[in-house]
Amino acid sequence: MIQFSEEKLNKVKEIIARYPEGKQKSALIPVLHVAQEEFGGWLDVPVMDYVAELLSLKPIEVYEVATFYTMFNMKPVGKYVLEVCQTGPCMLNGSDDIINYIKEKLSIQVGETTADGLFTLKPAECLGACGYAPMMQLGKTFREFLTKEKIDQIIDELRAAAKN
């Protein structure tokens, strides 16, 4: 059964309270973020239906929004999603090499997840870190000025974190 924890439910209530009476649809994107975080990093249909019910929306209103925005994952992803920027300024600084290196190191193609379910490689469009290129998004943080050595470090670090 899909159900937010008490803490997340309070968070959702707090979000809805920001908007004027009857405008709770505005809470949809923030609540989808909460849902994705809570339910395994992606938005399955029952999860979206649950959000629709919480906000008194029709399910289609949730699906059409969730599928529009690239940050919402429509299929399962690994525990860690490596989102490497590939747009112009990062490309000038070697993002192609970084993407290729990760593909080789983890033996996955772009868009795929490793067999152990730890890593997904997802190419991203400009993330607003052009001066600190090449870079990737990892959860809530940015990892910048990437090199092959830094990729090795990050992957080791995440593998260690996953064990704990």
């Binding site: 405008k23 994107i29 989808l32 529009f68 925005y69 940050m71 112009g88 469009e125 001066g131």
Partner: protein
Amino acid sequence: MKLLLEHAHVEGIRYYDAYRKHGGYRSVEKALKMSPDEITEEVKKSGLRGRGGAGFPTGMKWSFLAKPEGVPRHLVCNADESEPGTFKDRYLMEFIPHLLVEGLIVSSYALGSNLTFIYIRGEYAWIVDILEQAIAEAKSNGWLGKNIAGSGFDCEIYVQRGAGAYICGEETALLESLEGKRGNPRIKPPFPAVKGLWGRPTVVNNVETLAAVVPIINMGGEEYAKIGVGRSTGTKLMSACGNINKPGVYEIDMTISVEEFIFSDQYCGGIPKGKRLKACIPGGSSVPILPANLLLKTAKGETRYMNYESLSDGGFQTGSMLGSGGFIVFDEDQCVVRHTMSLAHFYMHESCGQCSPCREGTGWMYRILKNIEYGKGKMSDIELLWDIQGKIEGNTICPLGDAAAWPVAAAIRHFRDEFEWHVLNPEESQTRNYGLAHYADPVYVPAVS
């Protein structure tokens, strides 16, 4: 001259106490003793132009706000910074968040917004926490909430996180997104000033624009207007990236030359490894790319400066735009075809799909560019690209269509020989780059041979 980032490196400036100690929230104290119209008047006098890219005069935008009796109005801060090459708003919000909060309070008072939103791109997740912390501090010190400093003015600010869509930087798409919908831009008119958020009169301004309201109120509009040159008043944040020694965010007054900005140690610090300058996109990925010779000097041979007028001198034939201030530098080893392909991919990915010229055209341009880049192009493809971009421009609801067309047009306009070389040398172009050709900068010869 620094107005916005003057205190950005002061220890603890992210927090209220240090910010207040360095003159923070003085503009709110001053503004609350003025009438809302007087504040708008100061902003008009300052000559401040929208810092998000379009450069529309802010005071004028404010004066268009409809004020029907009994209908709430809103201010929305556009922090959806997504234009490739642009990361200045991120810097401002990350390091000196109270400056934005202060600007928002003054602007909300001027516009009569009791409920104000910061719409921030979803990927800047950690900045949401920084801003919410700053808002909470401002509130606990009496600068937000009910009856601010005894003025009778109430205001709340909330941060709304987007979820990964370049298009939501377009103001009507942003409002749709803030209403919990897909980011499809609206047909204008009606403009947001009349029908914006939830159909109410709304002003949408960029982060840097709203932060600039703080020095404008502190020093007065007329004093602010004395900084800079002509209609490029005040200071501008530039985010510099690409092949330069010192990438980062710089606050400039708009009187310095492009040459100084790229080569002086105070700013970009020149090009790494003694390489030569090939080209530059001076104002975010959507504005025309310029070869070095047209970048440093205008077609008339005059020095080009870092301001709205000088960068657009010569129109799109020989000039570009200051845009969002996303300054992308290319050294001699960069391939313009490959870069244009990358940007075409970006616009294809980010098109909302509402208008067919943009939805179909951006993908078509990408596929043609990919063929040329990978040695499968034909000469007629270059003409076809030119034709497609011309049919997207001006034929879409929002400016994303133009933004996708301009980089392709400018690349062909100035670097046609490089495209032709790719077509004529399908194998060689896979192993080496075209190089500098005739558009090298005439000023800087490599220091090492």
